[in-house]
């Protein structure tokens, strides 16, 4: 590496923005500004709704959609990722902080800020230690399960708002459903009809006009409906609860609180919560990094991305933000809108702030049931029925872990869902490791497998199970070996550690044996015992190899 290159990568690591700043020309700026305006408008309803989910004043949601974007634009790796509030994290914040403060109070906000800082610090640590790659091993099944669980939680929590009645927060799902069932007669049907209008129009647009941003359309339709009802019947009569006037401060300074009186009693929960939130954020980042590589062609350094997220959360805790993370949906729509650089994020933050300042009287009239309708749509979008159906149709491991994690998330709370998910992923990973593995053996180790008369051969040790799921790996490995020795020598497979084999596995071996035969060499197989003989015989391996070429270790 030349000194200039080193300097370049160093700058890229510590100041990633030095790489895209020079890209800004008139054309890029123009397309980015437009993408930014769109992104700024799109985030508004979610920012408000997700803050409410987290038990925070809507303003906090707006700050969270404004400030972290600047930081991650400057320090993140991807040029298209837009960060902001996230559904799972909102649910998580509410669960964690709910143990220490009553919802929405200044204490609640204080604990949330501390939580933001802790999550950010943990993420930063992950990034610096370059642990981002770990998240590539996070089981996809578990991810779907957690997200599905979050979708269910969101919908259940919002049923009360949807019908214009109050329910106790933080009750188990079945209690909420039970109490709502009996209180349906008390529902405010004006509110409920607005909610239904919102959900209905959202679903309609999503189905028939997939190009339109259905959430925005749903909000507008719902709010127009509310406005019409007010006009015709008077807001004092229909009594629909509304959002209220939002007021943004230019610089809402705040600080995480680590003072003994406030922090000690909550330390355990907050640190565990911080870890889980960091984890959820990283999970998103990993998905985004993978997807972005496909969509935009930019290679995303996941560790750098994680550092960007960590720094933006740490900064966020000083600017009244709750934990945020890169948002997959926003990033994807950013690319669709033609955004090219992180300038999009900066523009979207400014647009959002202006929108709130100037449209405040209009936004203030947003009925809470419309907001609940929006969250219904958001929650429903998290429950990906198709994915789930494929998962459930496959018998075995995936189905069980899906059901287990999803159930735990909904009933036990998101934090346990995530922890269980981590455990399930580790187990799945370990099992994957126990699948076939190749080791090429040399010298002494190799010689012990060579029968009389063979003095030069390629010896590989094969362990794990050789079944339909693993033939692919085995084939590849055999092909690699063939490229190496040109099939110029016999191949000895030391298979005492093979613990399982099926027809597909045998077929793979047979194929290789045929190829070796064509090249004039044989394949010699070592097995542990006679357990597999039946199978091999059935697939004609005995005749193919010749009985003399199959040896047993015992």
């Amino acid at each position: 590496m030349s000194p200039a290159e080193i300097k370049h990568t160093l700058a890229g690591r510590f100041f990633p923005f030095t790489e895209w700043l020079p890209m800004l020309d008139a054309d890029t700026i123009r397309s980015d500004v437009w993408a930014g305006v769109a992104a700024g408008i799109l985030i508004l309803p979610q920012a408000i709704a997700l803050a409410t989910m987290a038990g925070l004043p809507p303003e906090v949601g707006l700050y969270t959609s404004i400030f972290p974007i600047f930081v991650s634009a400057l320090f993140g790796s991807s040029w298209h990722v837009l960060s902001g509030p996230n559904t799972s994290i909102s649910v998580m914040v509410a669960t964690i902080v709910g143990a220490y403060a009553s919802i929405g109070t200044p204490d609640w906000i204080m604990y949330t800020l501390t939580l933001t800082f802790i999550a950010g610090a943990i993420q930063l640590l992950f990034g610096i230690l370059r642990l981002g790659a770990v998240f590539n091993y996070f089981s996809h099944t578990v991810m779907v399960a957690i997200v599905t669980g979050v979708g269910v939680i969101i919908i259940v929590q919002q049923i009360g708002n949807f019908f214009g009645m109050t329910v106790n927060p933080g009750e188990p799902v079945e209690d909420t459903l039970y109490s709502i069932f009996f209180r349906i007669p008390d529902a405010n049907w004006w509110a409920a009809s607005l909610g239904i209008l919102t959900v209905g129009s959202g679903m309609f647009v999503k189905r028939f006009f997939p190009k339109l941003p259905y959430i925005i359309v749903a909000v507008i339709v719902g709010m127009l409906g509310g406005w019409l009802l007010d006009l015709l019947f008077g807001s004092g009569n229909i009594n629909v609860d509304k959002l209220g006037y939002l007021s943004l401060e230019a610089l809402p300074l705040s600080a995480p609180d680590f003072s003994p009186t406030n922090f000690y009693e909550a330390a355990e929960g907050l640190i565990m919560g911080g870890f889980i939130i960091a984890f959820l954020g990283l999970m998103q980042s990993a998905v985004i990094a993978r997807a972005m590589a496909v969509r935009s062609g930019q290679h995303v350094d996941i560790d750098q991305e994680v550092i960007g997220q960590g720094l933006s959360n740490i900064a966020g805790s000083f600017l009244t933000c709750f934990p945020s993370c890169g948002s997959f949906n926003r990033s994807a729509s950013n690319i669709d809108m033609g955004g090219r650089t992180p300038l999009v994020g900066i523009v979207s933050a400014i647009v959002l702030a202006l929108l709130v300042v100037f449209a405040s009287p209009v936004i203030a009239q947003m009925p809470l049931s419309v907001m609940a309708g929006i969250l219904f749509l958001v929650g429903a979008a998290l429950i990906k029925v198709k994915d789930i159906r494929t998962l459930l149709s496959v018998r075995g491991e995936a189905r069980i872990s899906f059901l287990l994690v999803c159930f735990t998330t909904v009933y036990g709370g998101l934090q346990w869902g995530v922890l269980l998910g981590i455990a399930v992923s580790i187990i799945a990973y370990m099992r994957a490791v126990s699948r076939p593995e190749f080791d090429v053996l040399f010298e002494n180790e190799a010689e012990q497998y060579m029968p009389e008369g063979v003095d030069d051969a390629t010896v590989v040790q094969l362990s794990g199970s050789l079944f339909f799921g693993s033939t692919h790996t085995v084939e590849r490995a055999l092909a690699d070996i063939a490229r190496d020795d040109q099939r110029g020598k016999p191949l000895i497979i030391a298979g005492e550690l093979i613990d399982n084999m099926d027809d597909a596995g045998v077929a793979t071996l047979a194929q290789e044996a045929r190829k070796r035969k064509e090249a004039g060499n044989g394949l010699i197989l070592w097995l542990r015992d006679h357990n597999l003989d039946e199978l091999l015989k059935r697939n004609g391996l005995f005749t193919l190899l010749g009985t003399g070429n199959i040896h047993y270790a015992t």
Binding site: G104, T105, D230, L231, G234, G236, G244
Partner: protein
Amino acid sequence: MKQAFLPLLSLSILVTLAAPLHAEPTDPLEVRPTLVEPQVSLPTNLVTVPVVNPGEYFVPPLVDDIPDDKTGDMIRWGRNIFVNTQKYAPRYAGNGLNCVSCHLSEGRQPYAAPLWSAYPIYPIQRNKTKTVVTFPQRIQDCFKYSLDGIAPTVDAPEMDALVTYAKWLSTAAPVGVVLPGRGFASIKKTHDPSPIEGEIIYKSRCALCHGENGEGQKNRDGVGYMFPPLWGTDSFNRAAGLNKVKTAAQFIKANMPLGAGYTLNDDESLDVAAYMWIHFRPDDPRKSFFMNRFAPKPGGAN
């Protein structure tokens, strides 16, 4: 001499505080004017609780007695919202008023609908809506009408804070008993209130603070009102209690001009209330847009 003075003083205060509450309503005209100073900023120590005749009215606890725990935080938050709604609950305030604009002295002033006289008797049957309302629901009404705003939901944290504050103010108040000082002063209507008379009184007694056009006076920094507006877009709306001539007169009689309550007699109060009433204020949210344009203004009768 000096040493003997302090115990004596505290003893006399104790005696007055411990004096039994008289449940029978007192004739407000006989009591002396209140001693409250015009209250333009948040007083931190309310030792001079506006007791018209010491012992006549329930005495809520002192601000210094707010406990130093989480409940105390809640009480302080509720008090802040009550005294400075514009700053602490801007999300719900639709005009320039604070709760304290009408519920004087932080909600302690007798005959200015004090909180301590309200909290212990809720839930209650209300004439306005013909239904039983709970305390939070009553507060929602003040947000919707008196503050011309958007009511916080009954489970909103701000609502919790206000209720906690009211509960604390009524510490040791008897439950379910209508205490003297509840609501506003009683008034007898002897003639049809005349806005013309009212204008004369208004110009001489009220305009000084509330402005020639009832527009009030902003604080020096331009944020919030030192003297709240009595009508116009930044005042309470047509559905508020004070938009009723009679209720407004009751309030004015006991409390206005600030610091000189009971200096207007019943007729004068009614006249000035009528003068307030004839001006423009925001729409009644209980009526449709069209009814607000074409139907007669509520509140003029009774």
